[in-house]
């Protein structure tokens, strides 16, 4: 393109008032730092919550009876051919694991006490804490050794309510597929303490084959296959792919199964975005102020430039280059300045235990870790960088337009 090198001129112009430029750049650095830390905190926390929810029983995607979502889980809403469904799920490149489970509600009774609870029946040979998070909260006892073992693992508050401890007998009452009431007997093999009240007082674990026997299910029958995927954000795509290939079952995402959790996260993400928008506006206002003052100080210079043949469009582009440089240099400085705090909070986290009540914090039954780590999704980091540069460009529009509107003679008179 003909004409003087505007990028070079803009670069030099940017450093004419070094102190003012550094103040503007520090505004960008501060804004980006805040945005990265807040977004990273959100990304990490919400992702952990979603993964935690998935590991609480349903996976990121649940293959289940077509009516189970709308009408609730019930023994008669089981799915057959679960082994084939597991193979189908594992054939998907984004799926890491698929586990068979029976879930539902039961009434537990011991020593004259009784209590309702949700249950998750699983195969102890196939599951550990990586797919069933409750297992990592095992405070006493052990997990099951066999899938047909007569054992039960219960929350510590549930144990207190029932007045049982390890080795004691508990009777669990279920309904079978025909609606008949059936009972099973189990000894307490483990007691869990998650910190989430709804789990500690309302959930028990059972061995899957023992439950199949009680409920009259076949060996290839269950209420769901919990599917785990590499990136929880792709749950809907994986569900759509699996759903298209299933017969007699549907693929349901975590956010369809747990709309309260999805709503909470959505609200938090929106509020973070709003917060970031305010940061962007404040940063843009600072940049606007700098650029506008810088343009107004140089009206005479722009007038001279117009006199020697610079067109209004060229002056507009010159100032836009200046704002682009401010944005780009600001982003580079922000990246450098953010690296250490990000690394610190990414590895050490922020310990919120002092702000969490003794019983622990939970959202929609999902416990929140007291130590929160900062871990931003790469695309969100890119978004923040692009947004910061875009904000500087938007802030530069009016000053740039103003520079192009200079009347040469008026500005030259300003001696």
């Amino acid at each position: 393109m003909k004409g003087p090198n505007l990028a070079k001129m803009a670069w030099r112009n940017m450093w004419r008032n070094r102190r003012r430029t550094l103040v503007t750049l520090s505004g960008i650095v501060f804004g980006v730092l805040l945005a990265v830390l807040f977004t990273g905190l959100g990304d990490s926390t919400y992702s952990n919550m979603i993964n935690m929810a998935a590991r609480l029983g349903g996976g990121h995607v649940s293959l289940q009876h077509p009516e189970a979502l709308e009408r609730g889980e019930a023994p008669k809403r089981s799915i057959a051919g679960v082994a084939r469904k597991v193979r189908l799920a594992l054939a998907d490149p984004e799926v890491t694991r698929a586990r068979v489970r029976i879930t539902g509600h039961t009434m537990l009774a011991a020593g004259g006490q009784s209590r309702g609870a949700a249950f998750i029946a699983f195969d102890p040979a196939a599951e550990d804490a990586s797919t069933l998070s409750i297992l990592e909260a095992l405070q006493q006892g052990r997990s099951f050794e066999r899938s047909d073992e007569r054992g039960i693992i219960i929350g510590h508050k549930l144990a207190d309510h029932l007045g049982v401890r390890l080795g004691r007998k508990v009777v669990y009452t279920l309904t079978d597929r025909s609606g008949e009431i059936v009972t099973g007997l189990a000894r307490v093999r483990g007691i869990i303490r998650t910190g989430a009240d709804s789990v500690d007082s309302g959930i028990c674990l059972l061995p899957i084959d023992a439950v199949r026997g009680v409920m009259g299910y076949g060996p290839d029958e269950a209420t769901r296959v919990a599917v785990f995927i590499k990136d929880q954000r792709r749950s809907d795509r994986v569900a759509a792919r699996l759903g298209a290939r299933l017969r007699g079952a549907v693929a349901v995402t975590w956010f369809e199964r747990q709309p309260e959790l999805a709503g909470f996260i959505s609200m938090k993400v929106t509020s973070t975005l709003f917060f970031e928008l305010i940061i962007a506006i404040l940063v843009a206002a600072g940049i606007f102020n700098t650029l506008f003052v810088s343009v107004m100080e140089r009206l005479r210079e722009f007038g001279i430039m117009m006199a020697i043949g610079f067109s209004p469009g060229r002056l507009f582009r010159l100032v836009m280059w200046e704002s682009l440089w401010v944005g780009l240099v600001g982003i580079v400085m922000a990246a450098v300045a953010t690296a250490w705090p990000y690394h610190y909070f990414h590895t050490r986290g922020i310990d919120m235990s002092a702000m969490v009540s003794k019983g622990g914090a939970e959202v929609a039954g999902i416990g929140i870790e007291p130590v929160m780590y900062v871990s931003i999704y790469p695309e969100n980091a890119v978004f923040i960088a692009v947004a910061a540069v875009a904000a500087t460009l938007v802030a530069g529009l009016y000053p740039a337009w103003r520079a192009g509107r200079v009347a040469p003679v008026e500005s030259i008179k300003l001696v």
Partner: protein, 230 residues
């Protein structure tokens, strides 16, 4: 007189100062031919700078016609006026008015770059011009590292770099010492003689008037005298 490249016909220019209209030019008419070395002089407020601003398409008259190389400036768009200034008019200002972030070389080169002249030609031409105005070896200095006289030489090099039809110089010697003023005038006279560049000055400076071959005296926005000199 040859074919005029500058024509002012009954030009009136009024400025507003608050609610008052102040006349700067009151029906000014004059012509300048190619190759002339003209000084417009007169007391403060006589309309010298206003006349130069109108000729340079930096301002528009209240009434009357200003033509440069036959182009009626009132009929040109902002972009065409900008192109006219770039291609056909060179400016030398009293306060030098170089672009502070460009070196001496880049300042002189800027108008050629705006015209789209290729880099090799620009380099050759600018280096020749800087040598001609006595700035060899100072090409890479920015204006704040040049004296007033040196800055004005860069301004002259910039003004003539693009082979303009006319160079308009507004009090070009006002901010330099006598010795420098003489040197600047010698340079401009030499460029006028050797390259045929037309120069129009507005000035109070008797030294400039002494060098001029035509002296137009303005009083109260009108031509009081127009004198050809040997």
């Amino acid at each position: 007189m040859g074919q005029p490249i500058i024509e002012l016909e009954d030009v009136v220019k009024n400025y507003r100062q608050g609610h008052v209209e102040v006349p700067a030019l009151r029906g000014l008419s004059l012509e300048v031919a190619k190759g002339e070395f003209v000084a417009i002089c007169g007391p403060s407020g006589s309309g010298k700078t206003t006349a130069l601003n109108l000729i340079g398409a930096l301002d528009a008259p209240t009434s009357g016609t200003v033509r440069v190389e036959g182009n009626d400036l009132a009929k040109l768009s902002r972009t065409r006026l900008s192109n006219l200034r770039r291609d056909r008019i060179g400016f030398v200002f009293q306060a030098y008015n170089l672009i502070p972030v460009l070196t001496a070389y880049e300042n002189a080169e800027s108008v050629l770059a705006l015209k789209g002249v290729d880099a090799a030609t620009r380099r050759r031409r600018v280096m020749d011009l800087l040598a001609e105005v006595g700035l060899e070896g100072l090409e890479h200095r920015r204006p704040d590292h040049l004296s007033g006289g040196q800055q004005q030489r860069v301004a002259i090099a910039r003004a003539i770099a693009a082979d303009p039809a006319v160079v308009l110089a507004d009090e070009p010697t006002a901010n330099v010492d006598s010795e420098t003023a003489e040197k600047l005038l010698d340079i401009m006279q030499k460029l006028n003689a050797e390259r045929g560049v037309t120069f129009v000055f507005s000035t109070h400076d008797p030294r400039v008037m002494d060098h001029a071959r035509r002296l137009i005296r303005l009083v109260d926005g009108r031509v009081e005298s127009d004198e050809q000199r040997s």
